[in-house]
């Protein structure tokens, strides 16, 4: 009897279940990001004339991050320097891909943030109001096969202000770009 695409896909999915059952993978059920670091980066620093404030980092010659692979298939990503640009993020994506970890590098248009991102309003030396973004990073992140690592970058592409890990692709929350507005003056 002739099989269809749906039949052949089912065969592969059944084999995938059997593979997983043979080698149990630790369950990851929650967003791995657990806290917000109160380090601020200017959302529109060029226009606002504000400096980006960074946490103390390692010397410039050190790599921005370390990737450590473990026997159980997990990967530990240790961030040494938050100043990891888009190109370095893409390079990291290539390194993580063989471990079944997908990396999504998002770049926002100038002046936009993702809906729901915490924004703090400050005043520039000229007295203008300017949004500051809270950097949302973990120093050490454990990644499992199937996890999706999402970098959200401002348009300058120099520094992600948010790095989240989602257990699976199905859990990834889309970034809805919005222009931040102060509540009141």
């Amino acid at each position: 009897m002739k099989t269809t695409f749906e039949d052949r896909l089912l065969v592969e999915l059944r084999e995938e279940i059997e593979r997983r059952e043979a080698v149990p993978v630790p369950a990851v059920r929650r967003r791995l990001f657990t806290g917000r670091r109160l380090v601020l980066a200017a959302a529109t620093c060029a226009a606002a004339g504000l400096a980006v404030v960074l946490a103390p980092g390692t010397p410039a010659e050190s790599p921005a991050y370390a990737v450590e692979r473990h026997a159980d298939g997990t990967v530990t990503l240790t961030v040494k320097d938050q100043d990891i640009d888009v190109e370095a993020q893409r390079e990291l994506a290539r390194k993580l891909s063989p471990n079944g970890i997908e990396t999504d590098v998002q770049i926002l248009r100038p002046g936009y943030v993702c809906k729901g991102d915490p924004v703090i309003w400050a005043r520039t030396p000229q007295g203008e109001r300017a949004p500051l973004l809270v950097l949302q990073w973990n120093r050490k992140i454990t990644l499992h096969r199937g996890n999706v690592l999402v970098f959200v970058n401002r348009n300058d592409r120099e520094l992600p202000y948010r790095v989240y890990v989602y257990p699976t692709e199905a859990d990834v929350e889309p970034c809805v770009p919005v222009k931040p507005k102060p509540n009141r003056s």
Partner: protein
């Protein structure tokens, strides 16, 4: 009754139960995709992605938050969104199961027929692009994918009341936008969306 015995969690560990789950939903999922993408190869790839995501996230299903169908549509929406982001950035995805590799000429012809059959749905979805994202999401699931309001609410992880409000606003916006003479200059099926047969919880 909507769900299978033991729910998605059991299905993700038992090939026999998974087959039951898969056979129950695969047709609806390929139709869902055929309303959102325009070529059979992408339909095949994303069908594989959806069911792999089911295996990955079966532990996240909570019966109290909605039916198995609603949960699956929530996954399908995320897979399609992720694909659109990927295409927008022209990034390459390392697919664990390549759906298109499993396609044979007969499958492609059959999926192309399905894509043709779903073209009014694709035009209707295109007509919704100007709606706010939250309203559009509810209207898509209810009017185009024929979910109930309760299922759409569960798929989007919002309350039924919020879903009804968004649905009402979306339909109102589209009615106001529709050509009073009944001629749609874009050739879209706005009436199909405004009067969608779904929508009852």
């Amino acid at each position: 009754m909507d769900g299978i015995r033991g729910g998605p969690r059991a299905a993700a560990r038992d090939p026999q139960l998974f087959e039951e789950f898969y056979r129950r939903h695969v047709e609806a999922m390929t139709s869902f995709l055929a309303r959102r993408v325009a070529d059979p190869h992408t339909v095949a790839d994303l069908t594989a992605e959806i069911f792999l995501a089911v295996l990955d996230s079966a532990d996240t299903y909570r019966p109290g938050r909605g039916s198995e169908t609603a949960w699956l549509y929530g996954i399908a929406r995320n897979v399609v969104s992720s694909e659109r982001r990927r295409v927008a950035r022209e990034t390459v995805r390392d697919r664990r199961i390549s759906g298109r590799r499993l396609l044979e000429p007969d499958d492609i012809a059959r999926l192309e027929d399905k894509l043709d059959a779903e073209s009014p749905g694709r035009r209707a979805l295109a007509a919704l692009e100007r709606l706010p994202a939250g309203e559009r999401a509810v209207l898509e699931l209810v009017a185009v994918d024929q979910l109930t309001v309760a299922e759409a609410a569960a798929a989007l992880d919002i309350t039924k009341v919020a879903a009804r409000v968004r649905l009402h606003r979306a339909r109102k916006s589209l009615r106001e936008e529709a050509d009073p003479a009944g001629v749609d200059p874009r050739g879209t099926s706005l009436s199909y969306v405004i009067e969608g047969t779904g929508g009852e919880a």
